[in-house]
Subunit: 312 residues, 3 copies
């Protein structure tokens, strides 16, 4: 049984294992549980994209998904997260996927819950499956990380993945730079990479990784107009023309079209934005199988290039 | 791959094909996908009845249904419908069923999305699966449409199916008349049939097709009392007694008991109201298999009179 | 076809049959429908715990669960419960599980609906699967009921299970006593057992069955402070120490930690609180198979000690 809580806790070897496993699924590899296996997706913050992606991954693996609506749950009656998860463990769940508004919500669960927890986002903290799908997209494109320059651009302050992606990319051998409004750049990011002016960053990076602007979280200021943001820090048509040959564009979505990126570039040749979503399913299949390995007798086996489980 | 957007776009031949397919399912015919196949039901307007019916149809066909809650989706963050559907296509959906409050919402999707779209209702526009289940109910009853008189009675102004049913019925060879409050009769309906006084219509029609009164959409006026509506335009016990021998009663439901129809007639011998609901599942199975035919290698095959898929 | 509406309607023999069936499931027994079988969970009052438990039971039995969201259903448009359930029957459901805020909501359905109804709670009335899982937990522990003393303690006035548990336990041969705030003790409970002072009850019972305090339903008064309640009527650390050897603690959950029971006792050795949740799945599997027996050709068969259906 293995939790997936943060990317920071994953060794380089573990990350590579997960990416390899994801690759097998991308190539049509199949997996099936040895016995009926139950999971639930507990999304205390809404996120249809991530939730749908997890659901797809779970169903492709032949897992049984027990619906859990946080809006009507006993959590509303004041039940602790521990009691909720312990209840789900009691009724027979084999794993839980959790998104929660509190940073490190999992601290109150780890060591007390006997089923794996897959973190689908905690507060402003971590979002490891988003990081892993980003890494997988880069690896699929370039074969590896060594020698690559990745520019992480935009809302560095509110992003759940800027830090964890930077940390993982650096450990995997890539060079990281940050860009966007300078006031959103924190000094503690210096341990992962330098701040670079946006035109420079976009022209020299192999990967232009745009972050979503969280309009709702910013006050009025220099960057309060979407048009101005686009002009100053966005991926405009002009900036795309000057991008390095062979470089790619990434964005975690949903995209603010015309803000972080020009509307017409969302599906341009360099863009991997919708490819990232596809890859998200493979990355989640990889972490789910990793979590369920050797749990309650459910040994895993992957059958590459076989798209349909023999029986489920 | 075939969308289902409106009944107007269906030729008479196509309608007949769908009705025949529905008939096979009504007789216990079975279908199964060649590989795991994913669909989602995107209901931006609520409709448990239609949604449950689609869900039943999907599960009877052995499809995997990915839950999608519009209330918590990124559409709430301003994401376009296109981006939402494109995302679902990216994560591997094979078809989407959509109900949306905007007329012709599908115009921004067709030609850009590579998976079939099944329209489960657009604004005040179309509701093709409701039309098809109505047609199927009539055909099951009378064997065909030629020579039949169908009276469409009630809230002609706000109904999503009055126009499309009238159009389809006329093309299939039936005679259509309209009745109900005359102020709700629009001149453009004349191309399908004449307005007829309610007693006349109910006494001479083979099919009395009642429409639901959308109380919430009407102001105060001559028809503002449910009792008055029932007396003047509803199917009362007296009117039912004078109906033609062998004629049937239809209503799309939910019924306002005692308004469009007397409470005790809802399940009377002539009523096909609950039969329509049953037929809705068969009609939706037919359009789903039609949409998924030859898609991504998932050729269809129907096994008549076998109620349980060999494996799924 | 057999409804499950109240425990009062179950004979001692029927209760024993259900408990035996639950025991087979607890031991890993398996069941499968002969054909694809559809159920829906209609929860007009929210209850994630009971709903999740039913869902688990249904999926473990290989049933197909059709989602039904009461918040968006036509019930909101004024549709009667009868029309809603009749619709679900029409589209092919084989059974429905219902929780509803009205006492005896099922009176308007029984005799008119041709599929089994499983009551998951009606108003302040009944909650038979909670009772059955409580009975099953006691029987698993002690092998039977004869000679046992069960103390039901707490919010006797608002509990859905106090009366029905007391009735069932008495008929099965146990002695029942009640405790907690005396003003919540109604004279009609005397037919099941006497009121006993809380220290006495906790020291002499084989089963201390705590009831959840429904804070929201009580006005200000002697018992308006949770701390005071705990001190006067709760299972404190001191009271637990004086409990009878071999006795157990039960609570239907969610627990108000520190009110009905000291926080640290929730998972103490005597506590069967999370075990009850596990047992809830087995009890619900038993009543579901009982309801679906001989329905539409779906004969049941239980295969003890085989954890995974041969095919489903």
């Amino acid at each position: 049984m293995k939790h997936l809580l943060t990317t920071a806790e994953l060794s380089v070897e573990e990350m590579n294992d997960i990416l390899e496993e994801a690759q097998k699924f991308a190539e049509g590899g199949s997996w099936q549980p040895k016995k009926q296996t139950f999971v639930a997706n507990l999304f205390f913050e809404s996120s249809t994209r991530t939730k749908s992606s997890f659901y797809m991954a779970e169903r492709k693996l032949g897992l049984d998904v027990i619906p859990f609506e946080t809006s009507t749950s006993s959590v509303q009656k004041g039940e602790t997260l521990y009691d909720t998860v312990r209840t789900l463990e009691s009724i027979g769940l084999d794993a839980v996927v959790i998104r929660h508004q509190d940073d490190q919500y999992f601290d109150e669960l780890v060591g007390k819950i006997n089923i794996p927890i897959l973190n689908a986002g905690d507060g402003c903290g971590n979002h490891p499956t988003q990081s892993l799908l980003d890494l997988f997209t880069i690896k699929s494109e370039f074969g590896g990380f060594s020698g690559l320059k990745v520019a992480i651009i935009g809302d560095l302050r509110h992003s759940r993945v800027a830090r964890s992606n930077a940390d993982a990319l650096k450990r995997l051998g890539a060079e990281v730079v940050f860009s966007g409004p300078e006031e959103w750049f924190d000094e503690d990011l210096l341990k992962y990479g330098l701040y670079e002016e946006v035109d420079e960053a976009m022209q020299t990076a192999d990967v232009v990784m745009l972050l979503r602007i969280q309009h709702e979280r910013h006050g009025v200021g220099a960057t309060n107009s979407p048009e101005q943001y686009h002009r100053e820090y966005g991926l405009t048509i002009e900036r795309e023309r000057r991008m390095k040959r062979g470089s790619i564009i990434m964005h975690p979505a949903p995209v603010n079209r015309g803000v972080e990126i020009a509307d017409c570039l969302v599906e341009c040749e360099r863009s991997r934005i919708f490819k990232q979503m596809e890859n998200g399913v493979y990355a989640r299949m990889a972490v789910l199988t990793r979590a369920l390995e050797n749990i309650r007798g459910g040994n895993k086996y992957v059958i590459a290039n076989q798209k349909w489980p023999v029986a489920y």
